[in-house]
Subunit: 314 residues, 2 copies
């Protein structure tokens, strides 16, 4: 049996009791280590599980899936995924291969996006081919845990990813999707880029297995980039007065929430990763306001902006 | 400290290790028992936790929140919620007070919807007023666990609820929201009605605490109601050839997925609760097709409908 086991969001104790039993008994245990990060390191996991864990980077899962699945028709193999196995913790789930076609604002960013998340789907599809049974042990994912902001999950539209902008690459397709949500007053969860074991384009082209140091986008960087896109697109989707919630380390003891305008959030330091951001829609409930108000960077500004752009707009 | 502890979706072992520690040590433990159901009963939970659990129905949480929070500034109180504390497992989160204004198809269903989910928000807001600290222990929610269908969570729009239709009350506001999602090719998660400890309107009006037997909407009933609304609205949003996935008991050992047209799904029996449904958007990925195809009621029909309405439509 192949078990896909969700680890939850923060530390080693976020695994479910059911998941832990499976991990303890499995013949081999792999830790998926490229679409997301847990807030603790592998050694701590191994100590907690009382057994060794094989770290599976992207290369391994993509090129050695048969190795991972070996004998899984006879023995139990556990594949651990931070967050929910099908929920994805956070991140750019794209590789960085992007072509820019045209010039100026009317260009299209054609993203050759290999959704990393589909790698798990690939693994399951391969298991099926081999006649291996699979079971899924769900766990918390940022996509539902973001409800801790006090915003109604029913009022969220599609989730988007924000990748690190470079001098020459500032993809704004996320802006269109936020706009689609905003048209109906919906909130947007923005998942922030994680660069773990990434190669530079040059190293990738030359086939050199040299990896960049890990980078995690902060709420401030995300707010900055959103304002940058707004300054180009000028459609009033995520401007300096748009309210957003920055969330850091959701589910951890030091979880932190901060509410402010995007302008304010560019100056906020939420500390260690992982960060996420929610751009508020106008379809708000007064209970949502009451709940988030206490996290305001500046309450007077919050009240002012709320009255101006959000109150009774739904 | 007030702990909001998520229990996950299926059975007593879906609690996280962190959550279980809190439950074992807390002075008092309440089980929220009205927005959702776990697939096991309270006695089994008590046995697993090795301690008594107080079942908190809606009345209790709404009228006796101060009792629940008593001394929580000094001792630990755990409030257990099926799924994620802020994620909501499933359901109508509405009470059934609905006014129909006008007549015919142009009427508006004015739903005086008291989002039950906000009851947790209320509890937290009340705790704040009393100066009680709160911590949230996230867990799996249907809103992310639905990723087990193999559909990309990024391609989901807003989630909707389907309530039980009656002879005189067939609210179709969900149809408008599905339409908004469909415009952008997005999938829609439909959460199905749960009636637990509900009063009939008559008993409610007369203040009689007599409760109806629990009812859980099935995938077949949901598909039926969607076709009924489509027959009225005729906008081609959820017709007999629309593809959908029925999901039953997500996260449980006997989890079941079935893919078919809404027409086909009206005839499918997915067994015990809880059920959910996903209406497919046209923005699909071929990996999604490969993944869901094996759950098809009829593969030939699936291939045919896919080619006709979904392939290369995104």
């Amino acid at each position: 049996m192949l078990y896909l086991v969700g680890l939850g969001l923060a530390d080693e104790t976020d695994i479910t009791v059911k998941g832990l039993e499976i991990v303890k008994k499995a013949e081999r245990v792999y830790l998926e280590a490229y679409t997301s990060i847990l807030l603790v390191d592998t050694a701590k996991l191994e100590e907690f599980y009382g057994r060794p864990v094989i770290v599976a980077d992207r290369e391994m899962v993509e090129s050695s899936s048969d190795e991972i699945l070996q004998n899984a028709d006879k023995v139990d193999v556990a594949f651990l995924v931070v967050g929910d196995p099908f929920g994805y913790v956070n991140t750019s789930h794209h590789t960085t291969l992007t072509l820019r076609v045209g010039s100026g604002f009317s260009t299209n960013d054609i993203m050759i996006s290999i959704y990393r998340a589909t790698t798990h789907t690939d693994l399951v599809l391969r298991a099926r081919e081999l006649g291996i049974e699979m079971r899924n042990i769900p766990n918390a994912s940022i996509m539902s845990a973001i409800g801790c902001t006090g915003l109604q999950l029913y009022s969220f539209g599609q989730t988007v990813s924000m990748v690190f902008f470079t001098e020459t690459w500032k993809p704004s397709s996320y802006y269109d999707r936020i706009k689609q949500n905003a048209e109906h007053g919906l909130h947007t969860l923005v998942l922030l880029d994680i660069k773990v074991k990434e190669q530079s384009l040059e190293n990738m082209a030359r086939g050199r297995k040299i990896y960049e140091p890990p980078r995690y986008m902060t709420v401030a960087q995300c707010a900055e980039q959103m304002l940058e896109t707004e300054a180009e697109r000028k459609e009033g989707i995520c401007g300096p007065e748009s309210l957003a919630i920055g969330a850091a380390r959701v589910g951890a003891v030091d979880q932190q929430l901060v509410v402010g305008t995007l302008e304010e959030l560019t100056k906020v330091d939420l500390g260690k990763p992982l960060h996420s951001l929610v751009l508020l829609g106008t379809k708000t409930h007064e209970l949502e306001r009451d709940y988030i108000r206490r996290f305001a960077v500046d309450t007077a500004t919050f009240d002012n902006i709320w009255k101006k752009h959000y109150e009774a707009k739904s």
